[in-house]
Amino acid sequence: MKFLQPLQETMSREQLRDVQGERLRAVVARVYRDVPFYKRKLDEAGVHPSDIRTIDDIVKLPFTTKEDFRDNYPFGLYAKPLSEIVRSHASSGTTGKPTVVGYTKADINLWADCCARTLVCGGADRTSVVQVAYGYGLFTGGLGMHYGVERLGAMAIPMSGGNSKRQLMIMRDFGTTHICCTPSYALLLAEVAEEEGFDLRSLGLKAGYFGAEPWSTSMRKAIEERLGITAIDIYGLSEVIGPGVSSECLAHRGLHVFEDHFFPEIIDPVSGKPCPDGEKGELVFTHLTKEGLPLLRYRTRDITEIDHGPCDCGRTFARMQRVSGRTDDMLIIRGVNVFPSQIEHVLLEIEGAEPHYQIIVDRRGTLDDLEIQVEVSPTMFSDEVKKMEGLRKRIAHDIHSTLNVTAKITLVESKSIPRSEGKAKRVIDKRDMN
């Protein structure tokens, strides 16, 4: 099986442009009619749907940002009534509230198609046995790939995250051929396998689909060697759809963006002007077909570059390079997006906590460690150990329930976090991503 949907995946660039233009016209007309937020935004920008004729007119449209999600929490950006929404997922927001995304029945089908395309890009077919070790739940990773496996007609093993020994046992006993997880989890599995004395390379494992966190070339090499597989880089974000936005093919020349549904642009993050092919900038997506939550020019804050040239695999979709950084301070920890502002929000909620804090991210072994150092102010301080322990537990608990990531909370002496020009340096990322 070379392509899931050859007609779409290999259509000529001219034809694709026509399809994109037509779909863009339709989506702009639709959001202008159905989403008050976009009507206001387009009116403010002085753009009318009739101004949009070809895909090149996209630059006339205003941007959408993560803050727009926050301001319209929870369902303000939905373009369909809730009765037509069959699924809601959520990802981290910049404060205490998550970013909520909704899908119609057609969106779920489209999503399944895109994830199935991803699987085929890496060589899976309907005889494959796919172990999905992304977390299932509000996070889009697990259920996204799961529906892709189902769409493909392969066998889905819904492992969800965690429990490495069990993952390995299932992998061996069920004859897993493809695995989906974060790259760091793949390395952890390799480590546990070595400890348990079983050889991953002797299993029937062929390829793995790795995403949801940044990874380096050296990590890819280590994964391919230690698991004896081909590593496929996949990309997605819940605001766009979840996994299934773009995927590497076996030619490993970047990630094919499923452009018939998600139109990519690279812009200069400061000026907002488009960047030419091969130049790094911020990745921006416009939904061409999504019904429940179509977004115009959504700024992903991910930095990458794009190449519209042909690929050996035969797909005509443009390729983006692996994401090399962020234009904001978002961190990805064990596959979960974390904004320092979320942490600040939690600390502010705790009475008396003047938020002097520092976030330290490290990778001990293969998994990320998140430590938050909080300066103890006089109002937070008590001379009773149990109260101080209580404070620390409360911070840890509130951080976990907001971020869905466990953090080690260290209480430190006041003024012990170095200030630069009066402002504390918030994040120290010790992970090596190159």
Partner: protein
């Protein structure tokens, strides 16, 4: 009857205790009693010093997080069962001890126990009623 105690927040790493001791030493402050309660990563140093006001000033100037709590110092016969009789008197009246620490006076041969209660005034009354000798502030500072 109440004695001022200074409690300092301290990270549990090498040199922090020495830093406080040196700071107080160079400022000419004498430590009368101390206790250290610690967890794996932080500790609370509780001190009774001869010049509390100056100690506070010095700590503040050096960005330490601290607070001041009132505690009670009680003299106990330095002999078997001395402490037990005091605690029994407290227990009989359901007085809750938040924490306590003890030291032995240099020459008098008496043990001094420092208590922190949730109801300080009630506890002082009770202790005195039970014939326990509660030290005045002046007595403590001049130990």
């Amino acid at each position: 009857m109440k004695v001022q105690q200074i409690s300092i927040f301290m990270e549990n790493r090498a040199g922090r205790l020495a830093a406080v001791a040196r700071l107080l030493g160079t400022t000419g402050i004498n430590i009368r009693a101390l206790s250290l309660a610690d967890t794996s990563d932080f500790g609370i140093l509780r001190l009774i010093v001869d010049k509390p006001e100056e100690a506070k000033k010095a700590l503040k100037a050096n960005s330490f997080t601290f607070n001041v709590t009132d505690v009670v110092a009680v003299q106990i016969p330095d002999e078997p069962g001395g402490l037990a009789s005091v605690l029994e008197a407290l227990q009989a009246q359901n007085v809750n001890v938040e924490y306590m620490y003890a030291f032995v006076e240099k020459c008098g041969g008496k043990a001094i126990v420092v208590f922190r209660f949730d109801d300080l005034d009630g506890a002082i009354g009770l202790l005195q009623g039970a014939g326990v000798r509660v030290l005045s502030r002046q007595e403590v500072l001049s130990l």
